[in-house]
């Protein structure tokens, strides 16, 4: 699969959140989107998730313009927003079943997949508790499960590791790496270590502009493999320019 972002610009009045940004994202490995808070990552994610329309440019999923035909993207999409949204008076299986019903997945299939997802994200022991009793990290895992319900060919996750403990972070990375073999997985974060060992491709955005696009090896070429140093080097370079 191929997701092609062409010359995207997003303006909010006088503020430019994204400026003439172009990227090619393919399946076969996790694509990491890195940038400081307010760099424009979430705006890009929302555009790709068909929640926002850009001011200029277009986005093609396997050659189909998703801005003109958003349902093409929605049929293939699993999306985790930055702030996980849940219905607090439901249990995790009930909530996931609700999402499955909206995704038109029949009850039997949904039940099987929900059981698997709860096991994958270590939520099975808490399946009878309401989401209002869950910690932030547990809710995050429920949100990721909701994104993975069905068979999304494009997975877009915005800051997925927020609130997760180290064990769960590693678990999550492994899951995304596995899924990315046959799917597009676009992971946005401002935590470099989240993508250090996971991403095959990464893009660095600052103030709505693309500073780097390539492999992690290319990214750290001048810093002996040090991701954070490379990140700072690119950011400072852009600031001084």
């Amino acid at each position: 699969m191929n997701l092609s972002i062409k010359n995207i610009t997003k303006e909010y009045g006088a503020v430019t959140a994204l400026s003439d940004l172009s990227l090619e994202i393919t399946s076969g490995g996790v694509f990491g989107l890195v940038g400081a808070n307010g760099a424009g990552k979430s705006t890009l994610m929302k555009i790709l998730a068909t929640l926002l329309k850009p001011s200029k440019g277009n986005c093609l999923l396997d050659g189909v313009d998703i801005l003109k035909r958003p349902n093409m993207m929605r049929q293939a999409l699993g999306y985790l927003p930055q702030d996980v949204a849940v219905y607090p008076n439901l249990t995790a299986p009930e909530f996931l079943d609700y999402i499955a019903a909206l995704k038109s997945i029949n009850a039997a299939d949904a039940k099987k997949q929900i059981t698997m997802l709860l096991e994958m994200f270590n939520l099975a022991p808490y399946r009878k508790r309401r989401l209002s009793e869950y910690s932030g990290g547990m809710r995050q895992r429920v949100g990721i499960s909701a994104a993975l319900i069905g068979d999304p060919k494009v997975i877009i996750v915005d800051e997925p590791s927020v609130g997760l403990d180290p064990e769960e972070r590693i678990n999550l990375r492994n899951i995304f790496m596995e899924m990315a073999k046959t799917r597009i997985v676009l992971l946005s974060t401002h935590i470099i270590s989240d993508i250090e060992t996971t991403a095959n491709q990464l893009a660095l955005i600052q103030k709505g502009k693309l500073l780097f696009h390539g492999t992690p090896t290319e990214f750290t070429k001048n810093t002996n493999g040090d991701m954070e140093a490379a990140y700072l080097s690119y950011s400072e370079g852009a600031a001084s320019a």
């Binding site: 609700y98 997949q113 698997m116 994958m120 064990e167 596995e178």
Partner: protein, 525 residues
């Protein structure tokens, strides 16, 4: 003082945003409604010296009866509603913040007292306004003067600070927060009520400690009756039955022209307020002592440990099997999941209440079902319908739903159909009963109401993004319907079932539903 008022304001706002506040306000309003003087077969309401004066159909007694009606249950509502606020502050850690600040126990409790008094005042004012409209609807052109209308409520308003202060005392002393405190309070109020109902007991002492204000109201009713008729009233029957078999048949009407207060009444007002303040002052050191006592800690039974282990050092084997969207029975599944969401978390008592209401629609007379049972049954369902159209906004779920193919549109339609099905389930036995009785216009009108109700909720929820608009408007609509305002009878009126009204509500309901769906359309495309 700023700390006290700031805290009282925060407490008042916090409480008033709860659904329970609205529910209790509705309870007060509808509770007062029951006791308005009306001609009801087999019952007499507000009979003075029961075999002489009866006030059924006499509009001048509306404020007296609604004040008395409120006096019977407001002290209980006040106590159980306000007592837990201090315990709640302790649970959420607010009391730690207050203890570590310079506010101090006394100012903290005065804040609670003010907020409580204001909340009760809001309930009372709601009933006063409701009773005013009730008088307008039932007896057009027969209005009392403003003074005559408001005067019976004065004693009730004077008792509110006392109610709030007692709730503060019982909330401040940990020992009195539980069942023991409830028993002491309830028994105490019952004893006062029993004494208050006897006119000869209405001395100044009883009147100043009477949280119900019944003794003052009874005494002043008797005094007013004597001033106007010369009769000495020994007995007031608030509500009671009479049979046709030799029972008394009171006949004389007595027009109520407002209460005439004397100096004793003002002494009672003042003393009640002083007692209330005294209780709050006593509560402060008791609260301080109470905080020093060891807290009873409830130990929860430990959850069974999970057997699930996750390997974190090696790559996990992805146990994820792909599933594809299906087109089979998805409508039914979608509607069913929405229904589950709407009914989730409702306590058993709520379902029992529904069952009781539905049962009454089968057995009570049809006119009674139309005028009282159906409106109350639908009102019981208000918190099922009120999240329609706004739940997704309030929980920020639209950003997820909007990324699902056709998600926003499907969700809004599923939720509307789920609402229709719940409303239909509630009225179905009654509809079948009407079909068997050949009341086809009635069937049509009730079904129009079934379409109107969830559509109205969805429309308001979608456009206002809050459940409060529907809750308030629907309570007012029900109140008007129960008071016989024709245009408000969204499920019709038995005496005058009208196809036109049914068609009107059906069209309005359908328009609301379509408008809500159209509002969602841009996000779905």
């Amino acid at each position: 003082m700023r700390a006290v008022f700031g805290q009282a304001r925060a407490d008042y706002i916090g409480k008033s945003r709860d659904f329970s506040f609205l529910a209790l306000m509705a309870l007060c309003l509808f509770g007062a409604f029951w006791f308005v003087p009306r001609e009801i077969d087999g019952f007499e309401i507000m009979a003075l010296q029961p075999d002489i004066f009866i006030q059924g159909g006499n509009p001048s007694w509306i404020p007296v009866t609604s004040a008395l009606g409120l006096a019977f249950f407001l002290p209980f509502i006040a106590f159980f509603y306000l007592r837990n606020t201090i315990a709640w502050d302790e649970e959420i850690g607010m009391s730690q913040l207050i203890t570590s600040s310079t506010v101090g126990n006394l100012r903290y409790l005065i804040g609670k007292f003010l907020a409580g008094t204001l909340l009760l005042f809001t309930f009372a004012v709601t009933v006063i306004i409701g009773s005013f409209f009730m008088a307008l609807w039932h007896f057009p052109g027969q209005l009392l003067s403003l003074y005559a209308f408001l005067s019976p409520y004065m004693f009730l308003l004077a008792s509110l600070p006392l109610c709030a202060a007692i709730a503060v005392l019982f909330g401040a002393v940990r020992f009195l927060r539980g069942v023991i405190g409830s028993i002491i309070y309830v028994m105490g109020v019952f004893v006062i009520m029993v004494y208050s109902m006897e006119l000869e007991n209405a001395g100044i002492f009883l009147r100043t400690v009477d949280v119900t204000a019944i003794s003052s109201l009874m005494e002043i009713i008797s005094r007013t009756a004597y001033e106007q008729t010369g009769y000495t009233i020994y007995n007031v029957m608030f509500i009671g039955g009479y049979g046709g078999d030799g029972g008394h048949q009171p006949t004389l009407p007595l027009v109520f022209e407002g209460l005439h207060f004397n100096s004793t009444d003002f002494i009672v007002f003042g003393t009640m307020l002083l007692i209330a303040l005294g209780i709050v002052f006593i509560s402060a050191p008791l609260y301080g002592l109470s905080k020093l006592l060891p807290k009873k800690i409830r130990v929860r039974k430990a959850k069974k440990a999970s057997n699930t282990e996750i390997s974190v050092t090696t790559r996990v084997k992805l146990s994820y099997s792909a599933v594809s969207p299906s087109q089979k029975n998805m409508w039914a599944r979608g509607v069913f999941t929405e229904m589950k969401l709407m009914l989730k978390g409702k306590p058993l008592i709520w379902f029992l209440g529904c069952l009781a209401g539905i049962t009454l629609t089968i057995f009570l007379e049809m006119n009674m079902v139309f005028s009282l049972v159906l409106p109350l049954l639908m009102l019981w369902l208000v918190n099922v319908f009120s999240p329609l159209g706004n739940r997704e906004h309030n929980h920020d779920m639209l950003k997820v739903i909007a990324t699902i193919n056709g998600g926003t549109l499907k969700q809004v339609v599923y939720s509307l159909v789920a609402g229709l099905l719940i409303a239909l389930t509630a009225v179905l036995p009654f509809v079948l009963r009407m079909v068997l009785a050949g009341q086809f216009i009635g069937v049509f009108v009730v079904l129009a109401g079934v379409v109107f109700l969830p559509s109205f909720a969805l429309f308001l929820g979608e456009f206002t993004k809050t459940n409060r608009a529907f809750e308030v408007l629907f309570i007012l609509l029900t109140y008007a319907a129960m008071n016989g305002v024709p245009v408000a009878m969204y499920m019709g009126c038995y005496e005058a079932l009208s196809v036109v009204q049914g068609v009107a509500y059906l069209l309005v309901g359908a328009s609301f539903g379509v408008a809500a769906i159209l509002k969602r359309l841009p996000t779905a495309l």
